[in-house]
């Protein structure tokens, strides 16, 4: 079993193996503009020293620390966990902290703010609409039998590993917005929830602690909803966490179209199991 898993990972690793280009320095071509002040966009080139392990975020922070302190960036964890540092790097939405300079070809790296997000300043964009789409999906477990608020004693749901596997992958989403930025439907339809929100709808829909199934499909069954996905797959190709939002969307649509049945048995509460 373990050997098989290692073999599988090695195979995937080989497929993803990126050509490494080692250099001593790199030129960052950074998009600059303060939208609120009505500035037109321009590109500033900054040369920074790099090492083999330097990430694009490291390079940007070096530029900010030693060359131009006015570059606006948003970041926090530096380890692909917080989802703040999404930007367009050489034309593709990526996490700056998860992209090594050595993976990039050429002598310059073009860094721009994420497309499909209202632009604020330099590399910083406004996520409020994106988060609102997420919130519209009611991203929390709903179960009328488990009102934890009014209970004296807390109880927990009993889930099997198979139940967990159905949604675990989608719960790894860090809301970085890369998928939203890559999606061709989001590019033209502001009311389309986007891959992140739609895959979260599936994440709760298929969770067997949740009993709001019909209500959840009603949310996405809208003229600007799930039907606007054409499975271009770009969301899954840019997702840095292996969430595969396109998979979640198609699986959810399978339920709406009647291709699949949600025969989940709602998980029981530990407390009730103990009583029997």
């Amino acid at each position: 079993m373990t050997e098989q898993i290692i073999e599988k990972i090695e195979k995937i690793e080989k497929k993803h193996e990126k050509k490494e280009t080692l250099r001593d320095s790199i030129v960052l071509k950074v998009y600059r503009a303060n939208r609120l002040a009505g500035e037109p966009g321009r590109y500033d080139s900054v040369e920074v020293p790099v090492q083999r392990w330097t990430t694009v975020l490291d390079a940007l922070l070096h530029a900010k620390a030693y060359k131009d302190p006015s570059i606006a960036i948003r970041y926090s964890c530096r380890m692909a966990s917080c989802g703040s540092c999404g930007m367009k790097i050489n034309g593709i939405p990526r996490l700056a902290c998860y992209t090594k300079v050595s993976e990039m070809e050429g002598s310059t790296i073009t860094i721009e703010p994420l497309a499909n997000f209202p632009h604020l300043r330099d590399l910083v964009t406004d996520f409020s609409q994106f988060f609102l789409h997420h919130r519209n999906m009611q991203p929390y477990v709903q179960n009328e039998h488990a009102d934890i608020k009014d209970r004296e004693k807390l109880s927990e749901f009993v889930q099997k590993p198979e139940d967990l596997d159905r949604f675990l992958q989608f719960s790894y989403c860090i809301k970085c917005g890369l998928c939203y930025s890559a999606c061709p439907t989001v590019a033209t339809d502001t009311k389309f929830p986007g891959p992140q929100a739609l895959s979260q709808a599936y994440r709760y829909f298929i969770d067997n602690r949740d009993s709001a199934g019909k209500g959840r499909t009603n949310i996405v069954d809208d003229k600007h909803g799930i039907w606007r996905c054409h499975f271009a797959g770009s969301c899954s190709s840019v997702c840095p966490k292996g969430v595969d939002p396109a998979l979640g969307i198609q699986l959810l649509r399978g339920h709406l179209l009647g291709f699949s049945k949600n025969e989940k048995k709602i998980a029981d509460l530990q407390e009730r199991l103990n009583k029997n």
Partner: protein, 156 residues
């Protein structure tokens, strides 16, 4: 509660600022085969629609008598007419073959199962079955066009 929150915050924020727009559909290669397939499906769909309208116009000439119909048919017998027909053959083959793949995927079939993703993540939905489906559609379209060309341009 389950309604879209229109007129409220969502409306206010329907800011198109920095949306890629139709421009975002261009340059499909940067996101892999699935994006190319999406782009071609759309392009061929619109192309077929244009052909369909043209086709109705063409065949409706029959109501003006056999002479008008023959004159219309002559148009398709030119090299330009042949090229357009060739394009229609390719477009319809690709569009139908890839369309059948999409009918399955839109229903959540043939995409694999969610699991526990391991670094370096490989999206299950972008699996070899989907990629082969796209290649098969492209190869079928190319083969149909080659055969069409051999028939159409034989006499010339």
């Amino acid at each position: 509660m389950l309604q879209w929150r229109e007129n409220t915050e969502m409306e206010k924020m329907s800011d198109r600022n920095n949306r890629e727009g139709i421009k975002g559909w261009l340059n499909p290669g940067r996101f892999g085969w699935e994006r190319v397939a999406y782009w071609l499906q759309r392009l061929t769909g619109v192309g077929l629609l244009a052909y369909f309208v043209g086709h109705i116009y063409e065949t409706s000439s029959l109501t003006q008598g056999p002479d008008a119909w023959t004159a219309m048919l002559e148009l398709t017998q030119t090299p330009m007419g042949h090229l357009i027909l060739l394009l229609v053959i390719g477009m319809s083959t690709y569009h139908s073959a890839n369309g059948i793949r999409l009918i399955f995927t839109h229903g959540g079939k043939g995409l694999g199962k969610p699991g526990r993703p391991d670094y370096p993540y490989d999206a299950a939905s972008l699996n070899y079955r989907q990629k082969s489906g796209i290649w098969i559609a492209l190869i079928l379209a190319a083969a149909a066009m080659l055969y069409g060309a051999s028939v159409l341009f034989r006499g010339n």
